[in-house]
Symmetry: C2
């Protein structure tokens, strides 16, 4: 069933992205992609009592939108592959519980949309399910509270820092007809540790993992940058973006003409004070759902390599002096 | 490809458990299953500087043992499906990084061994991989530090509380020859919330999820308790065990004759002061690898339903007054 190279699958039966939904916060709504999102929630609490409940509500709304757009009922969704950044995935588990869909909880830091898409595509392509949801979320306030400083503290942020996206994005992958936007292949990442210890410089921590999976992808599929209309990393930001281009150039590939980064496109760095760009699981998820899939739909892109990138740290590992390893998962999305 | 019922898969090609390994701490080594584990590490720090690094070392040792037992190299393992209880899965990511195996990070609380086995079996049965690892771990001290109180505080524990197992367990699932211990089917759980708010009484929080997935399993496979030599839940402990039997009886199934709980078998509750039993991802993982698979090998069991059970809480969700929802994933293991 399509196993190729060292860490890739080329799907014989190509799962179709039959619906996509994105729900974001006010800042994301005010950014360059603002008009493309399905829903903008201006209340950072989303009407709830805590940041975490708010993030759960973003996920709940994405599932609601996906069911609405697809015309499917919750019983038609066989599995949900989802996760978030919070310890023990509480945003996800409290967000999706009411839908009573068999659930695989995933954690790949900000690479989770790549992980969920990969496993969802494997599941549909193998015939295990007709419809599955792949989804993830992040929330600026719940992430700052967990990973950084209390919001009220108002700390200064270095220029290499990124801004956690408040938003959730998800898709339904479906079997049957392979037309429209389909997942045609995946390359699964491994943990790559370059010894970065600055948890504010996640772009530098993740770029080597992105380089590794992109290089493996090119090798496994016997392709190069010229075979993709766009190569979208998740949230390297402007610092990681440059590192990635340099690292891949050393391996013989010039991706500078086709490389985009969701984190660099979701905010206007100059006017929105977001420094190196956006980050968080939600960053690549909502950019995929609101922007990339539409570019595929309208013919601007035909084949995209989508690579959410994750920094594998916790406050405990950071405080204990550990490095920040990275991971990234590559997903080929083609308009067929 | 074997999709049956509402949430189950019956595998046409049945992935074989080609190797299993368990590494535990001193207390587990002194328990009733002590002689069955591959390795007992009496130093709770496992020679490392922190509890978290110690837990990583347990995972690293399991992969080392799996490769040694199977005669495979790290390049022969196509994917690793693994996770742990710690925020952002740091035990796993720092434990397995050196093996450079494409990695899917999972979080299902203490149900993670069921989740990893399910996804690993789906992957092998679909032909995506010849050999994959499914693994998980927990560590008493890293879990207490994260979820409960500082160890030095020496708090009293209620009698319904369980003791987090220090240990890691994992298997290699392989394609090709379907003989010996094989994963023949799975039923995937959904989040079940009975409104339990006592984070010390995890057995009560998880039993409804176990009941739900077992009931769905019986419906999907058209089986009942009499079709299994043993039905092993993960870590309900003595409190959750009784609740499960009562709940399933109300649904028309008497599992009292075949129900076992890994948490009740790993310690001697009377002499080891572990109250309701063992818990943690490692509990069901090491009991599977050291005990259940051997009972299948020696012919005492022919078909086992293995159901790791998880309580989906974090200290944040608990402190914010949220409930403790449960999840459980059922895996059929048969000796063919």
């Amino acid at each position: 069933m399509g196993k190729i190279g060292k860490s890739s699958i080329e799907f014989d039966i190509k799962p179709r992205i039959s619906a996509a939904a994105s729900v974001v916060g006010q800042k994301e709504g005010e950014g360059p992609l603002g008009s493309l999102f399905d829903k903008i929630i201006t209340d950072p609490m989303a009407g709830k009592k805590t940041w975490e409940e708010s993030e759960s509500e973003f996920q709940r709304l994405v599932v609601e939108l996906l069911l609405e757009k697809s015309g499917l009922g919750k019983k038609d969704i066989r599995y949900i592959f989802a996760g978030d950044l919070l310890g023990q995935l509480i945003a996800t588990s409290f967000g999706i519980a009411e839908y009573e869909i068999p659930f695989f909880g995933l954690y790949g830091a900000c690479s989770t949309m790549g992980e969920s898409l990969s496993l969802a595509a494997m599941t549909v392509a193998a015939g295990y399910a007709d419809n599955v949801i792949a989804m993830t979320s992040s929330h600026f306030a719940s992430a700052e509270k967990q990973f950084r400083f209390p919001l009220d503290y108002g700390n200064q942020r270095p220029l290499c820092a990124t801004w956690t996206v408040t938003g959730a994005g998800g898709v339904i992958l479906s079997g049957g007809d392979s037309s429209g936007n389909c997942v045609t292949g995946i390359t699964t990442g491994k943990i790559v540790d370059y010894g970065i210890q600055d948890s504010f410089n996640m772009g530098a921590a993740m770029a080597p993992a992105a380089c590794d999976v992109i290089y493996n992808h090119f090798m496994d599929f016997e392709t190069g940058p010229e075979d993709y209309d766009a190569i979208y990393t998740g949230d390297l930001g402007s610092v990681g973006h440059q590192i990635l281009i340099d690292l891949l150039e050393k391996k013989g590939f010039d991706v500078s003409k086709v490389h985009h980064d969701c984190g660099m496109e979701i905010y206007d760095a100059d006017s929105q004070d977001t420094h190196a760009g956006g980050s968080g699981c939600g960053c690549s998820a909502v950019t995929l759902c609101a922007h990339i899939l539409k570019e595929l739909d309208n013919g601007d892109f035909k084949r995209v390599l989508f690579i959410p990138t994750g920094a594998l740290l916790s406050t405990i590992s950071f405080n204990e002096g550990k490095t920040v390893p990275g991971i990234a998962h590559a997903v080929v999305i083609e308009h067929l």
